[in-house]
């Protein structure tokens, strides 16, 4: 028998010990409590454990930043698609087969030589799951959430991006149900590349706005 809630009776879980003295991993208190909760919910018929497996598999293997990279590459090679994407991102992204949870209402913002866009959620962890998957730890962390709005240029420098003063930085704080994706600048020297090759260049960080897409070697 395990107490699923914290043993102190508050909302505070107990401290965890992830390693014993031999350095061997042992299940943390939290891992045991999660397991106990799942067992309880299955026993009550409240969840289907196979559905849990499918949910995890979806975000580990199927939905991730490769989706967003395909959207970006299409916009780079197809001027009409780019116009549709900037005017009505939700439907333009759906053209490539991506949509649904935490991508119901999409907005795409375009980086140019004059404008650099940066995405954040200061209040929680809002992020465009359908095109980028689940957010990385740093995006959800207090340092990023607190500083992205007050010191975006400092944050970008921390990511290795030092923007000239004459570039306008636009920070998009995801306070409602609109989910944002940055359309990065297409790097110079990629004129001969195919859409598939271009998609390979695009990474998550560039679509959040903390990096630029690098010029291929």
């Amino acid at each position: 028998m395990i107490h699923i809630g914290s043993r102190t009776g508050t909302m505070t879980p107990m401290g965890q010990h992830d390693h014993d003295h031999d350095g061997q991993d042992v299940p943390s208190d939290l891992a045991l409590r999660v397991k106990a909760l799942e067992s309880l919910l299955v026993e009550k018929g409240l969840v289907d454990p196979a559905a849990l497996d499918a949910l995890i598999d979806t975000y580990e293997h199927k939905v991730g930043p490769r989706n967003g990279a395909r959207v970006v590459a299409r916009a780079w090679v197809d001027r009409d698609y780019k116009q549709r994407l900037l005017a009505d991102a939700t439907n333009a992204i759906a053209e490539l087969g991506y949509g649904g949870r935490q991508g119901e209402h999409m907005v795409v913002v375009e980086n140019t030589p004059q404008v650099h866009n940066l995405i954040v959620c200061t209040l929680c962890s809002c992020y465009p799951w359908t095109v980028l998957g689940l957010p990385p730890v740093w995006y959800k962390s207090a340092p990023y959430r607190s500083r992205a709005v007050i010191d975006p240029r400092g944050v970008l420098r921390e990511f290795g991006l030092d923007l000239p003063q004459d570039v306008e930085v636009r920070v998009w704080d995801s306070t409602a149900e609109l989910r944002y994706l940055v359309l990065p600048e297409r790097p110079a020297g990629t004129g001969q590349m195919t859409e598939d090759q271009l998609a390979q260049l695009v990474n998550r960080d560039a679509m959040v706005g903390v990096a630029k897409v690098g010029v291929p070697a």
Binding site: M1, H3, I4, G5, M11, T12, P13, S28, L30, A31, A36, L37, E38, L40, E43, K44, G45, L46, V47, D48, A51, L52, D53, A54, L55, I56, Y59, E60, G64, G99, G100, R101, G103, E104, H105, T122, L123, C124, P136, V137, W138, S141, A142, P143, Y144, S146, V149, I150, R153, F159, D166, E168, R170, V171, W172, D173, T175, A176, E177, L178
Partner: protein, 219 residues
């Protein structure tokens, strides 16, 4: 609520800890917590706003100390108890109360792809007039509700301009407390960085927030 979750503009949180090539879930239990939250949400005993408010109600010291999915676990226990889906005794013992009916989950494995694909749109196709128009100068109201709100502290009382009208959406301040959807327009509002942070900020930069009619007044 003026909670520690409302972090925009705070100092002292330290450097950003970037991780390269990390898995989506750092441990098995994180994935299970994520999936349990999604699967239990399918019971529709709460909504996305109530769910966010569940995390905001974690005491501030715990909020800052806990990892992301630890907060999701804590929030799930809270919502399960408050909704009555699970009793305090069951959380205490880990065993189902005897005599409770065995139910059928709303999210079965065959429905996962379709459910995720549909998502949960919060726009509402109802005729609600916008109170503001694109280009109009506005001020974010100085509201300090004790309950859920999506109006961050750093923008309250500040002047901006309507950049675009996104259409009509559910209003989180009422929806989180099951007081109705109160659908109204949401706008992207542009606030110059200097309006928010003073003269040390760049004269070029701006922060855009998505704000509901009820958060705004003419300026």
């Amino acid at each position: 609520m003026n909670g520690v979750h409302d972090m925009g503009g705070m100092h002292g949180m330290g450097p950003i800890e970037y991780e390269r090539n990390k898995p989506v879930f750092h441990a098995t239990w994180e994935g299970r917590v994520f999936a349990l939250n999604v699967a239990m949400g399918a019971w529709r005993r709460w909504n996305i706003d109530a769910s966010r408010h569940g995390i905001e109600r974690i005491p501030p010291a715990d909020y800052l100390r806990m990892s992301y999915y630890e907060k999701w676990f804590t929030r799930l226990l809270l919502l399960l108890r408050e909704s009555g889906l699970v009793t305090a005794a069951e959380i205490q013992s880990g065993l189902a109360d005897s005599g409770g009916p065995k139910t059928t989950p709303p999210l079965t494995v065959d429905r996962v792809a379709d459910t995720l694909g549909k998502g949960g749109p919060t726009s509402r196709d109802v005729p609600v007039k916008p109170l503001f128009e694109v280009g109009q100068p506005v001020r974010a109201r100085n509201l300090n509700p004790a309950g859920h709100t999506r109006l961050p502290r750093y923008v309250r009382g500040k002047r901006g301009a309507i950049d675009r009208d996104h259409g009509v959406y559910v209003f989180p301040d009422t929806n989180a407390h099951f007081l109705g959807e109160k659908p109204q327009h949401v706008y992207s509002v542009r606030f110059p960085a200097r309006e928010l942070w003073g003269e040390s900020a760049s004269p070029r930069d701006a922060v855009y927030l998505d704000l509901w009619d009820d958060y705004l007044e003419p300026a």
